[in-house]
């Protein structure tokens, strides 16, 4: 084998000690002296500077990328207060790292282009397989950012990733890039010459009630649905409860009943959570909702969630064909975690059931998932998803 992969985790409260512990465990699992790449997923409660210091102390030579999450997915648990570190030593796999910062101040699309260009120039070879990116979950125009990356790498190039999160505080999330800690940024890694990749994406929500049409929107803001202010759609179903949407960011109502966009040729609708509502009754979403989109109110359940996790894993496994997975990375929605509560780990367990319990698993809970649609119509273009679980399997 020319790749050595190790996952280390820690529940230690102190940032530096947690980083050291998880790094030591990850490095030990690779049984290698020098590590090429480290991916960090950390709870928002840690001090990110100390995390990097701890990692650097154990693996000074490794390139670092990662982000903060609303929780960390470990092989045997999910933790709101925890740290998961992936260490890779490889002879075959090639990779190039990139980042773009100050996205909200700049144009999101050109930021995406900047991120892709930097990753490309650091990559230096031609056989590219996949681009994994972690974008700040609090930036407004995530869809534009994805478009920017696709401008450079190609519309159909596999692009997968997730939006960093801060456990529903909506104040600040972190992105790790080498020694830097960013917010309002995106980091990414271009991977090539990998032995095999498979991914699956599912959410499990089902449309309910009348389909409606978005009659006015601007990027990620839905202004009118069926020519009425967007909020009227929720008022029809929830009456006074709708106030919740105005009071809280990403309230329970939108977590339980997101908006689904009907995509031609896809089995599932693309989900959109309502992050905030404006005074005019417009919805501010994560991810775009173009004018003319056919949308529905979506209904889910915990069982659907866990079934979807299993299906996403099965899809990823199918894509690997006969190759066994040596690593599973899971990008799971923070909203799903909120919905599942104590049962959150059941999703991870469902994924592990599919791949066998010895395969290392790690990931984090995000404010949005980035993954391509699979229907012919979509031509492999990536989209921004909400309340979705994305499973990436690496052979």
């Amino acid at each position: 084998m020319a790749e050595w992969i190790g996952v280390g985790t820690s529940r230690e409260r102190d940032s530096f000690r947690a980083a050291r512990e998880a790094s030591l465990l990850a490095k030990a699992a690779t049984k290698q002296q020098e590590i090429d790449l480290v991916i960090i997923f950390s709870s928002i409660y840690y001090n990110p500077e100390n995390i990097v210091k701890g990692v650097k102390q154990i693996m000074p030579e490794a390139k670092i990328i990662g982000c903060s999450g609303s929780g960390v997915i470990m092989p045997r648990a999910v933790e709101e207060y925890g740290l998961a570190i992936l260490a890779i030593k490889t002879n075959n796999i090639k990779f190039g790292l990139g980042y773009c910062s100050n996205i909200n101040e700049k144009d999101a699309r050109s930021s995406g282009q900047e991120l892709a260009r930097m990753s490309m120039s650091n990559f230096k070879t031609t056989s590219r397989d996949i681009f994994i990116m972690f974008a700040d979950g609090l930036i407004r125009k995530s869809s534009d950012l994805i478009l920017g990356v696709e401008d450079i790498l190609g519309r159909s190039f596999p692009l997968i990733g997730a939006a960093s999160s801060d456990d529903f505080k909506f104040t600040k999330t972190y992105q790790y890039f080498q020694n830097n800690i960013f917010s309002n940024a995106a980091v990414g890694i271009l991977i090539g010459s990998s032995p095999g990749l498979g991914f699956g994406i599912k959410h499990g929500w089902k449309p309910i009630g009348k389909p409606r049409v978005v009659t006015d929107s601007e990027g990620n803001i839905i202004k009118k649905i069926n020519d009425k202010p967007a909020i009227d759609m929720y008022k029809e179903y929830f009456e006074d409860e709708v106030d919740e949407l105005k009071k809280e960011k990403l309230s329970r109502l939108t977590v339980l009943y997101p908006i689904g966009i009907d995509m031609p040729g896809e089995n599932e609708f693309i989900l959109r959570n309502i992050l905030e509502t404006t005074e005019e009754g417009f919805f501010i979403c994560q991810g775009d909702v173009p004018v003319g989109s056919e949308i529905s109110l979506m209904l889910g359940s915990k069982d659907f969630c866990i079934q979807a996790a299993k299906e996403a894993a099965e899809e990823a496994k199918k894509e690997l064909k006969d190759k066994p997975a040596s690593l599973i990375i899971i990008f799971d929605s923070a909203a799903r975690k909120k919905l599942l509560g104590r049962l959150a780990y059941n999703e991870i367990d469902a994924v592990r059931e599919v791949f066998g319990k010895t395969t290392p698993v790690f990931g984090f809970y995000s404010y949005g998932e980035i993954a391509p649609l699979k229907a012919m119509y979509s031509r492999g273009a990536s989209h921004f998803h909400n309340e979705t679980i994305a499973v990436l399997a690496i052979a």
């Binding site: 409260r13 009630g209 009943y257």
Partner: protein, 506 residues
């Protein structure tokens, strides 16, 4: 001409054709119009039908949407209830986990160490336990997430801040959500956390200290339920501490007791050993002295007899009288010495008992014969109430005979003229119990327990006039005990006594 004709004909023909064609076209047009009319009518009918179905569909769609609204509403209600339940279950789960952790140790230090998990399990960044033993100053028993400098400042706060003093004196719960703004800010700054809960730790002796948990991260962590949880944990902590102390107390007093018992047992064993030694010395002494006394006594008795018999020449009567007194007192002395010797022999196990199966009635009758002169003299009725078929006993014949002689002899001695003595025997608890009952002067209550002691004589008129060794009952007791039996007495003064003893069955 022919050309003209031809032209004419051609024109005619053409005209005729044109006319026909026109006719045909007209007909066709008419037909088309009719067909179109029919089609149009049909289409309009279809359109109407379509319109109707569309409106029906729209209606069903609206109905479906109304149902969807109902489903969504119900689902929301369900979700809310489930969320509440989930929260409570999670809290209970954690509570139970920590409670178990705290209650499974009886070591005070370990309880404090384990209580650190309160912070980690419930997701608090900082926590501490502050306690005050008696009237001494506060000290920290456990802390997490604090530095020493900070803790020193907090100690002073607990001694000066009225809100905090209230917790440790009156036992209320103080939290960032139940305190007014200026107080909250002051305490929050001092404790270095934005959100906090402080709950008193209460034991039987009163409020011993307080448990603090705190966070800087999120207010949503602190709900009312959480305050309750922390209060319950603080109570649990108090109970665990109390248990640990009680255990410590019980443990040490148990140890103390054990040591005392050991000491006492040793003392008793030593005393017993000493007693045995003394007793042996006494027996040896008595035995030695008796032997030494018996020889000269035999000589005295011998010489006295010789003198009385006149073998050494006639002696005057008054001398003879005195010589007989010497002889009589010598006999008394011999009896005394013999009894003493027997006691010491039995006591020291020197007497060899010859156990045989015997009929108790035979022995009793034998003794009755032996004592017949005295019985007759005092006109005492001696009744033997022993069934013929009474089980046989396994005894030393001559020793048991001595028991009867002594007991019946005593009865005769202390029973007035015309009195009655009854000897009974029966099986009892696997032994044979013999009762010797008289209607004599009885034994005073205070004398009963000493009656079997050596040289003890009950102070009464008869004893004052009749001499005795004070060894008879002692000897009886020794003999009965040598048979693994038991002897006891029941008596009422002036009514009579009943001596009972047991002997083993054959």
């Amino acid at each position: 001409m022919p050309e003209l004709m031809q032209d004419f004909l051609t024109t005619m023909v053409l005209n005729v054709d044109f006319q026909r064609i026109l006719n045909i076209i007209g007909f066709l047009a008419l037909f088309a119009v009719i067909v179109m009319g029919v089609i149009l009518a049909e289409r309009s009918k279809q359109a109407n039908q379509l319109k109707q179905s569309l409106s029906k569909m729209k209606n069903s769609f609206d109905q479906l949407d109304a149902q969807a609204k109902l489903i969504v509403k119900t689902d929301l209600e369900l979700n809310k209830t489930q969320e509440e339940l989930d929260k409570k279950i999670t809290a209970l789960f954690t509570l139970q986990k920590i409670s178990r952790l705290l209650s499974t140790t009886l070591d005070e230090q370990e309880i404090f160490r384990r209580s650190q998990s309160i912070a980690s399990e419930l997701g608090f960044e900082r926590c501490f336990i502050i306690a005050q033993e008696g009237t001494r100053k506060f000290s920290f028993k456990m802390s997490r997430g604090y530095q020493e400098v900070e803790l020193n400042k907090i100690i002073n706060l607990f001694e000066s801040d009225p809100a905090l003093i209230k917790v440790t004196k009156e036992g209320g719960i103080l939290s960032s959500s139940n305190i007014s703004d200026p107080n909250r800010n002051r305490i929050a700054t001092a404790l270095g956390v934005i959100y906090f809960i402080i709950a008193p730790i209460i034991t039987q002796d009163g409020i011993e200290g307080a448990l603090l948990v705190g966070n800087n991260a999120s207010s949503s962590l602190f709900t009312e339920g959480e305050e309750e949880t922390i209060a319950i944990l603080a109570t649990q902590l108090g109970q665990s501490l109390e248990n640990a102390r009680l255990f410590e107390q019980v443990y040490s007093s148990h140890h103390e007791l054990e040591a005392k018992i050991k000491e006492r047992t040793k003392e008793l064993a030593d005393a017993l050993e000493e007693l045995k030694k003394i007793s042996k010395m006494k027996s040896d002494f008595v035995s030695a002295v008796s032997h030494e006394l018996r020889t000269p006594l035999t000589s005295i008795k011998g010489y006295a007899s010789i003198l009385i018999d006149g073998k050494a020449g006639d002696v005057p009567d008054f001398v003879k009288e005195r010589l007989e007194k010497i002889n009589k007192h010598s006999d008394g002395l011999v009896r005394l010495i013999n009894d003493l010797l027997d006691i010491s022999r039995i006591e020291s196990g020197k007497v060899e008992m010859k156990f045989e199966s015997e009929n108790i009635k035979d022995i009793v009758e034998n003794v009755a014969d032996l004592l017949a002169p005295q019985t007759k003299e005092k006109q005492i009725q001696l009744a033997i109430e022993i069934p013929d078929n009474l089980t046989r006993v396994y005894i030393d014949h001559s020793q048991v005979e001595r028991v009867f002689i002594n007991l019946v002899g005593n009865a005769l001695k202390f029973t007035p003229q015309n009195g009655k003595i009854i000897i009974r025997a029966k099986e009892s608890n696997g032994n044979v119990q013999i009762d010797i009952e008289d209607n004599g002067i009885g034994i005073p209550e205070d004398a009963k327990e000493n009656i079997f002691s050596e040289f003890y004589r009950v102070d009464n008129i008869i004893n004052q006039s009749l001499k005795g060794t004070g060894l008879g009952l002692t000897l009886v007791k020794y003999i009965v005990e040598a048979h693994k039996g038991r002897i006891w007495v029941e008596s009422q003064p002036n009514k009579g006594s009943r001596f009972s003893f047991t002997l083993p069955k054959a």
